[in-house]
Assembly symmetry: C2
Homo-oligomer: 433 residues x 2
């Protein structure tokens, strides 16, 4: 068999295990009979069109293992979403470098890039095997049971919420935690995984799939606060109101982040809004991560509306409502030292399997499915690129309880991906004994 070269690249937001998949590709490609040079593209497609590659065949094993344990794309990543013309330049670079195999580690946009490049090669009669290797903390790829990167991010969220629940038990108040996930509530749902004792938070969980009005949220918070004297809220950055709005992509629910921006714009003097990034970007996307605006808006709303309704203290004033917000931010996807072992292993596996599949005359996205039985086991399979590209997958409606909680079925689904959480203890156990 004549060997041909392989390109491997990484795309989109970092995860804690994206380099496990990269190392999986490298170690398997080195062993393969059909792959010659293993070319690592710097910053994904951007490196391909700029001919900016690192040859990975001879990287020492010891370094590879350390890279595998390192969060965020070791080759560099990119936010470029190639159009047909960009994809044509990618294809030209492949021709020039005698590339017969393309392994692209990323989310649904990367699957779409892989699909277009594959299509161009087919039209040109150029032999190219194209593989999408899944990676997303959002866990929102269609067909896939779950995605590498999710388990570790979910582990971070579970550990952070567990800690914040303990914090909130210790110093009671109302706390809002904003969790990543533009389109789907998978990561926000993971906030329930650390609940252990009666009354543990999160007491309210809001995901994009289940729109909620400000009035309903306030009523929810009020009820929890009356019951427990505290309230921990897990809010997805993509949480919505039931109001329908139109944008370039069609009809959709209005984001709470848009409510927050509108609320702010209404309070500002004319002309001041331009300085605050209240407008969506060129793709029509509103910036959700990397800003505390949504959390601060929810906290402000609760303080404003529920504050004056609190019982009076001995001076005849409403008792002070302590409301705080944290936006968990980038540590969710890149914190060092919070990796799910299962997630790491599976991320490695899908990288390895992509190379094994490439020995045959096939293309696709390397997906996982669960095997039947009580013990958690998975197998990989190839799904056509177009089944994963573009659209995303929602959290199943039946896993959302009462619009503000997450079901046991989700916990059973997610627990094996996240792994055992740290053991904790409470004096509450004395009462139960």
């Amino acid at each position: 068999m004549t060997k041909r070269n392989a390109v491997v690249g990484q795309s989109g937001g970092p995860t804690a295990v994206i380099n496990q998949s990269l190392v999986g590709v490298i170690e398997e490609a080195r062993k393969s009979a059909h792959i010659g040079d293993i070319l690592g593209a710097r910053h994904g497609v951007r490196g391909i069109v700029k001919n900016d590659f690192i040859r990975l065949n001879d990287v020492p094993d010891e370094l590879l293992e350390r890279i595998a344990m390192t969060p965020a794309a070791a080759l560099g990543s990119t936010r470029d979403k190639p159009d047909q013309e960009y994809c044509r330049r990618i294809f030209e670079s492949f021709q020039k470098n005698n590339v017969g195999y393309f392994f692209y580690i990323g989310g649904n946009d990367s699957a779409d890039t892989a699909r277009i490049v594959n299509e161009l090669a087919r039209q040109a009669g150029y032999e190219l095997r194209v593989f999408h290797i899944p990676k997303t903390i959002d866990n929102d790829l269609r067909v896939h049971d779950h995605c590498p990167g999710y388990g570790s991010a979910a582990r971070y969220v579970a550990c952070a919420i567990m800690g914040d629940n303990l914090d909130n038990r210790s110093l009671p108040g109302i706390k809002v935690d904003v969790i990543m996930g533009r389109n789907a509530g998978w990561l926000t749902a993971a906030s329930v995984l650390g609940r252990k004792y009666e009354g543990d938070g999160p007491h309210l969980v809001y995901v994009p799939e289940s729109p909620v009005t400000p009035d309903r949220l306030l009523a929810d918070v009020d009820a929890v606060y009356r019951k427990y004297g505290r309230c921990l809220i897990a809010a997805s950055e993509g949480m919505c109101t039931p109001k329908k709005v139109m944008d370039k992509r069609g009809e959709r629910y209005q984001l709470w982040a848009e409510l927050a921006a509108e609320d702010m714009a209404a309070r500002l003097k004319p002309g001041e809004d331009k300085n605050l990034d209240l407008e969506p970007d060129d793709h029509g996307n509103r910036q959700l991560s990397g800003s505390g605006m949504l959390g601060d808006f929810i906290a402000g709303l609760i303080k404003r509306e529920l504050g004056p309704k609190q019982p009076l203290d001995d001076k005849g004033k409403p008792r002070k409502l302590r409301v705080r917000a944290d936006t968990f931010g980038y540590p969710q996807r890149s914190f060092v030292g919070c990796m799910s072992k299962v997630d790491a292993k599976e991320a490695r596996l899908v990288g390895q399997m992509a190379v094994r599949y490439s020995a045959d005359n096939v293309d696709g996205s390397v997906a996982m499915r669960r095997l039947p039985g009580k013990r958690y086991r998975i197998e990989t399979f190839l799904t056509p690129l177009e089944t994963v590209a573009r659209d995303t997958r929602d959290l199943p409606a039946e896993w959302i309880v009462n619009g503000n909680d997450i079901s046991q079925a989700f916990i059973d689904y997610a627990r094996p991906l996240v792994g055992p959480l740290p053991e904790i203890g409470s004096f509450d156990e004395l009462k139960q004994a």
Copy 2:
């Protein structure tokens, strides 16, 4: 010897190891010849005056060990700062319960409470041994070499910044991370502990001890961004400008958080500022944690001032400046599963030592000092309560480099407290080889 009862309580913001100290007190008190009932006060001084105690003598060891590993005050905490009258009620509760020993785990305010209660007992000729057991992620207690709780929080900050630096290498831009610490920069300084490769962030570190003007910050960011094409900034929530202001406590530097509030107030329509918590609380403290306002203000300032100065793209527009901010928030003090082993061990030790000291006719705050020699070793000693109460301790001026970086001397100081950080790898090592 007649046994007398002991009260143990926890106060102030949570840490990851505050329960190690509690368990240290319990296990040592059980063994002691001079202590009878061990009474755990629910929510600190609040539980004492309400007579709300848990008897801790018979808590199973297995549960105690799990509680030791659990972040945030297992007995509950409080923000109450008792005045003389409140302290008198504490003292009355002690008399009623035959309390001869008071162990109070907390920061400098708790040391002050302990001091006043001690004074009242002395005036009344009541035999009471009072011990302050240090606890603060801020590491700002005077006399103490370092404080239990700091090592674990510093570990969280180091791991989060390491990850965010990798994230920022992978997808370059300008990133602002706001780190806890109202009065002192100890925790923000820990952001430098994970640097490994040439060009690693944080590239700029701003601590309260070294005031910085907006112009200087912008010039710093501009220089770093020109050099590396990216910039990671570690900003203390207590960072200051060089402008002096007066408040109840005297003259001090103006907070950047106050700049942020003023900037926002100036943009708002008249009357709108009341809704946004721009005013300080009853103690004259401005809310710093639990809000994204400072981070968003710094990010907005950079975008507004440096954005238009970027080189032009092929369409003749300034290249887009990607600026994001995260406020690390409560996970710094309560994240589950990010404990420094040394910190955990020392937190246990100071709890145990407080009980041992209490066999003698002494009072004080249980402090640590380093022993001479290459290997890190400490010993404990008692320091008078008044040496720790009220005032805080700054980061030494000589550890702050050029107003925006932290010296090797700090790294040598902090490394043993934080423990070894997770191993990472980079393809940059290939160039060096």
